[in-house]
């Protein structure tokens, strides 16, 4: 490795370090962010320690105590098969997080890679990648997800794949737009003139400088992924019974709106609060990472 390259690397890294620290500080100053962190922390706790937190197993049925209203015995009541709604809401956190994290992970890796390649190389790579992305954008997200699940068969894994695929284009587009401006920066030209390989330039110099919008997009995508998972499960295409899932619980509850309001309210509230937390975090991240907003704040 040449001395010049090291200098360029350091510049990129040190250039962003104060931004991170500043951003984190700005983030944590907001009470909204703390609220979101508490919510997401709780969801994470439920996902990891669900078995310990839930008073009952998710599938323990007892028809004789069906439709018990919320009370000391069952905090969120019981459903039509006498299963404890609280336990099922808690135990649904794991599949929900599993689907959203994995699918957004897939979308992130594939989408960002495609965006980097398209934006950096331009030319035919750009044309091919972005036209494919345009085609995928032409389909409504849920329609495309349902089509994918219809082909692959319903289940948790296919839900992950389907949601991952439908959120890939947005990452590709967001990444490419940022890459287009970064690739014209002098430090990229410098790295090129020093003989750095394309892969090194893309991942070491371009990627860190386009990460801010990607981070914001990731946070927002978590919210959309959770909603998509709930929607797929509601349509019977996601998590399969008897395993619990917020969307599936809502689907089951829709037949019993007159028998037990708690069957739909609690899983619905879980979806609402989790999605809200991801959205608010996404907004807060955008506020602190967006250069335009930052300038205003500093001024």
């Amino acid at each position: 490795m040449s001395a010049a390259q090291v200098t360029a690397d350091t510049a990129a890294v040190t250039g962003s370090a104060p931004l991170w620290r500043r951003s984190l500080k700005a983030l944590l100053a907001s009470p909204v962010v703390w609220f979101c962190l508490v919510v997401l922390g709780t969801v994470l706790l439920c996902a990891v320690f669900g078995e310990q937190i839930a008073p009952q197993s998710a599938n323990e049925t007892d028809v004789s105590r069906a439709f018990t209203p919320p009370g000391p015995d069952a905090w969120m009541g019981t459903d039509d098969l006498g299963r404890d709604v609280f336990s099922r809401v808690v135990l649904s956190a794991a599949p929900t997080l599993q689907v959203s994290v994995t699918s957004v992970g897939i979308a992130l890796v594939v989408g960002v890679t495609l965006g980097l390649l398209a934006g950096y190389y331009r030319g035919w790579v750009d044309v091919v990648v972005m036209r494919v992305v345009d085609v995928m954008f032409a389909f409504p997200v849920m329609l495309l997800a349902i089509a994918i699940v219809a082909v692959l068969g319903a289940g948790l894994t296919t839900a992950i794949i389907a949601i991952g695929v439908v959120y890939t284009p947005i990452f590709a587009r967001v990444t490419r737009a940022s890459v287009l401006s970064v690739r014209e920066e002098p430090f990229i030209k410098a790295a090129k003139s020093l003989g750095a390989r394309d892969s090194r330039i893309i991942f070491t110099h371009v990627l860190p400088n386009v990460s801010a919008p990607i981070i914001v997009q990731t946070s927002l995508s978590f919210a959309f992924a959770i909603l998509s998972e709930a929607a797929l499960s509601f349509l019977g295409l996601g998590v399969q019974p008897p395993d619990p899932s917020w969307g599936r619980m809502l689907f089951d509850a829709k037949s019993f709106l007159n028998q037990g309001w708690w069957l739909s309210v609690f899983p619905g509230a879980a979806i609402f609060i989790t999605v809200l937390a991801f959205n608010l975090i996404g907004d807060a991240l955008r506020d602190v990472l967006d250069p335009k907003t930052m300038t205003k704040e500093r001024a």
Partner: protein, 515 residues
């Protein structure tokens, strides 16, 4: 509740009906509202009835959809038809005699009956209708399996000869409207699919795809002109939407009744709830072509591990009767027998005896019948306790039928509808050569008893044969029987003269509607 397709199962092997009905509201049914007179009828208004889906087509011998038969019940007639007690009564045939050897049946036809297009009904129409089903192997053709020939010596006589004594011939001929008498020109022109011509109390006036089917009263109906001017069947797949439409007065009758709402509906004085025991039965079947389910002890373990009362409560909310055989208490063929109790310890010991400590089971459920998914979840919990891990596979009903046919299941739950004769309940499902023996059950003694039941003309001896067969079938868990559900229908208190029937036949011929 979904009803599409149930009839598919039915038409594949079901049969006739017999059931003592408890009374529902049977009003005097005389109410005249001249303002809505269009044609036909005597001014009883036009009834709007909500059914669960659109009939695939209206050819009675071809369709297998229950939605089609909901409409066709009012359009076609059969030679004989079941009364409220599901005993066969004269319809297009006024009387019939059998020869001493029980091999020749002679039917005398009703005189002066006309088709909806004004042409005369004769014995040639009967011969054509039946021969068409036999020659073209249409879906009800199995009902003629014992029939050797159908002849029309004169315009008002039909002679049917059978290969062996057939005590269930009348039930086969009149059990459902798939055997309705059609008109040849209507069939050959192809119009029968959307504008069928029958001899029934109502004629089809208009079939609007995706919306409704409109019937008009037949003023020349042999049983007397209907009181209603007409009936409009609308298609509402979602039960809650149908209930809302009923409560708002948009429709006056529906059978899309969610079982969990029954308790509330009983207290609603603007509607009438019709509830009666049915001849339908729901069951579990284990695939005996696969290990370990081929071991009778493992099947019995499953039978002991399930709580039938809980299953019945969770699926039908008390609107069903638990039964460990197929034929309901209300039938004259009922046999009391309940070998299994809910006994986890017994189930575990049977599993141990069979040497099975753990097993994986795929439960084939269908979203078209949500009760199968509900029961799947109860079973996942109950069977988990005796070492069987249940995975629920939920598919649409067409796929479900396909998977059943291919044997791609360990366990499934389904119901059979519209059975009347004991042969309908047991032969196709449990005879080694039965057309619906998807679970691959085979027992020589059961085969012998079921074959004997087909030709035994002494009623008591026949009942005994089926009782013996049914007990073996239950003991060996060819089917694990669950319950007989009630038929649930609701209608506006303005509709009078209508009665809910245990065979799910929907007859509006005597109904009328108040302003």
């Amino acid at each position: 509740m979904a009803r599409r397709g149930k009839w598919t199962a039915l038409a594949a092997a079901a049969g006739a009906l017999m059931l003592a009905l408890t009374a529902c509201s049977a009003g005097s049914g005389v109410n005249v509202n001249p303002s809505t007179v269009t044609s036909g009828g005597t001014g009883g208004g036009t009834l709007v009835a909500a059914i669960g889906g659109q009939p695939d087509q209206l050819d009675p011998a071809v369709t297998t959809s229950y939605n089609s038969f909901q409409v066709l019940e009012n359009v076609y007639d059969t030679l004989v038809e079941p009364d409220q007690n599901l005993a066969m009564q004269p319809a297009l045939a006024e009387s019939w005699t059998t020869s001493d050897d029980q091999l020749t049946w002679t039917f005398k036809l009703r005189q002066g009956v006309k088709f909806h297009d004004g042409s005369d009904f004769t014995s040639a129409d009967v011969v054509y209708s039946y021969d068409r089903i036999i020659d073209e192997k249409l879906s009800p053709s199995w009902r003629f399996s014992a029939v050797k020939s159908i002849k029309a010596p004169d315009d008002s006589t039909v002679v049917i000869t059978v290969k062996s004594p057939s005590p269930n011939l009348l039930a086969n001929l009149g059990g459902f409207k798939g055997l309705g008498i059609v008109k040849k020109s209507n069939v050959t022109s192809g119009d029968i699919k959307t504008k069928p011509i029958g001899t029934g109390p109502f004629s089809v006036e208009k079939f609007t795809a995706g919306d409704s089917i409109e019937l008009e009263a037949n003023p020349d109906y042999w049983g007397g002109a209907p009181k209603l001017d007409g009936v409009k069947f609308t298609f509402i797949p979602e039960p809650s939407t149908a209930m809302a439409a009923l409560q708002s007065g948009e429709v006056q009758w529906t059978d899309s009744v969610p079982a969990q709402e029954v308790a509330t509906l009983k207290n609603d004085n603007t509607i009438t709830l019709g509830q009666v025991g049915s001849n339908d039965y729901w069951y579990l079947a284990l695939n005996q072509a696969k290990s370990p389910w081929k071991d009778v002890r493992v099947r019995q373990a499953v039978a002991y591990a399930i709580d039938r009362d809980a299953i019945t409560q969770a699926t039908k909310y008390g609107n069903a009767t638990v039964n460990q055989l197929a034929i309901p208490k209300t039938s004259q063929w009922y046999t009391e027998y309940a070998p299994f109790t809910f006994d986890e310890a017994k189930a575990k010991s049977l599993m141990a005896e069979a040497g099975v400590t753990s097993a994986n089971m795929t439960f084939l459920a269908t979203s078209d019948y949500p009760e199968t998914v509900t029961v799947g979840q109860l079973l996942a919990d109950a069977l988990g306790k005796i070492g069987i891990t249940v995975k629920i596979k939920t598919v649409d009903f067409a796929t479900w039928l396909d998977e059943q046919g291919k044997g791609n299941f360990d366990l499934l739950m389904m119901g059979w509808l519209g059975n009347i004769d004991p042969d309908d309940f047991y032969y196709g499902q449990h005879h080694t050569d039965g057309s619906n023996n998807y679970q691959h059950y085979s027992n020589a003694e059961v085969d012998r008893l079921l074959d004997a039941g087909r030709t035994e003309t002494d009623q008591a001896a026949r009942k005994d044969l089926y009782a013996q067969a049914a007990k073996i079938i239950a003991d060996e868990c060819s089917y694990i029987y669950l319950y007989n559900p009630d038929v649930l229908q609701v209608w506006s208190t303005k509709l009078t003269g209508y009665e809910v029937r245990g065979d799910r036949a929907i007859r509006f011929r005597t109904a009328s509607l108040a302003g």
